[in-house]
Symmetry: C2
Subunit: 286 residues, 2 copies
């Protein structure tokens, strides 16, 4: 496997970082995961735009243009002969003597490499289970940063309970999953938490809402209580790797007869078609 | 400089970590900074006990006994001929393919190395300035984890304002500094936030409270509002590297005539004596 480290594409086993990389000592960095479909990175520009936004929000200045970074990532995908899977990339603030405060002159450190393909088709067909957990994260969840300790702790909790995801509840309100956005359907109307500081504005979430707009399907961007979640007709999550994933059970409550519901099915199909359309268009362009 | 990486003491320039160390990708680890006085690590056992507690709280199991780790740190101090300065150590959950959830079988990764001596005597004599900032951190600030992004952002904010520290306010309550505990003195009575999930229970804080107990000096472990902070007679912070540091100005308000107050002076002296006594005892024992 080949890894992109700053300007160089090197062998996986040569890819090391310094112990005083601020990513290692403070989680001082940002990241993205992009899905690759038949060699084509889906919504790459959107992911890179969000990466730049996250970096900017924490004061990391990237001298390189987004388009240049995209080109190097495309080269990395090609080098690795990737067909399906994920592309992980992270940027940390730089390497320097350890102090909390930082100089503006640091050189951001980039690492990018392929993540193996994991089929989610079976889970998408059957639906997955989730548990609820308290949302104890910081108040800038809109930044896709490397400070993921609480996310991993609640994902682990889900995993140990035999569930796929933890749905986070802050002050009674459903915010999002540990690595996904959460949607409910009640009487045909979709609802999800608005994109503010309490959630990460998912690319898949955004894409799905665009599809809703195009089709004039009704949705509400409104906070909703845990009670409303538990009384929903259908629940699903979205994420880059899970796409549109039905949730058929939360804690001990089952939804739509422990099967993916009709609206979730409709959104899954519409999303798949959008992926196909976009990756096809990109291929033809290339 | 020599660095301890797991079981080996190696040269600084050889000390690298893998790109899939969970410390680098998730901030999935814990750390400590220990002060070294004339070659003696102050309150080493207390720091190591807290490190083990932090690790345990996030589900990192350390197979090694604390005493064994202490011995290796003492060897590292000796190898580097350290007299004064700091010892930084961090433990991450391990190296593995990137997923949020983790296997229990991972091998935790240790890195420890000397931090250069920075004199704080002048600042301790004159006092420092601070600013206030909103406390937007997660709700497990009692864990000394590598998820320090908000801490560094507010420390940077302080630094750019020409101040030494940011004092964090959550829901109107003074919690702590970005890398310190905050104390106020009003009419001779010391007050600081109780040690719960909203603050890191500092070793220097604990040591100072022990000194208070020994001397039967009055103090209260009670949350207090920002207004109470701003109307205090004296304010100071404690941390491993700053010890007892007077705060003479917060935002635009000065305290005790922009000089360290008499109680702060008394606590500084008492703390210095405790350091001298303990490092002397340790030397004599050694």
């Amino acid at each position: 496997m080949k890894v992109l480290v700053n300007d160089e594409i090197i062998e996986r086993n040569e890819a090391k970082v310094d112990i005083e990389d601020r990513g290692y000592q403070f989680g001082d960095g940002v990241y993205e995961v992009v899905n690759i479909y038949e060699g084509i990175p889906f919504t790459l520009n959107e992911h890179i735009a969000r990466l730049y936004r996250s970096a900017s929000e924490i004061g990391i200045k990237l001298s390189e243009q987004p388009a240049q970074l995209c080109n190097r990532l495309l080269e990395l995908i090609k080098c690795n002969n990737m067909t399906n899977g994920g592309l992980y990339l992270q940027i940390s603030r730089g390497v320097t003597n350890r102090t909390h405060q930082y100089e503006q002159t640091l050189t951001p450190q980039l690492v990018a490499y392929p993540l193996p393909y994991k089929s989610v088709q079976d889970a998408q067909a059957k639906g997955v289970e989730a548990i609820t957990a308290e949302d104890m994260r910081w108040l800038r969840c809109d930044i896709k940063s490397l400070n993921l300790l609480y996310n991993i702790l609640v994902k682990q909790k889900a995993s140990e309970a035999g569930a796929f995801e933890s749905i986070l509840i802050r002050d009674g309100i459903v915010t999002e999953g540990s690595s996904s956005n959460i949607f409910i359907v009640k009487e045909g109307v979709l609802k999800t938490h608005p994109a503010n500081n309490l959630i990460l504005n998912g690319i898949t979430r955004t894409k799905l809402l665009e599809i809703m707009d195009v089709n004039s399907w009704e949705y509400k961007l409104e906070p909703f209580q845990k009670e409303e979640l538990m009384e929903a007709d259908e629940v699903f999550l979205t994420s880059t790797t899970s796409e549109v994933m039905p949730i058929i059970k939360i804690d001990s409550v089952t939804f739509s007869g422990a099967q993916p519901g009709p609206f979730t099915r409709k959104f899954q199909t519409a999303f798949s078609e959008a992926v196909k359309a976009e990756t096809k268009t990109t291929t033809e362009k290339a």
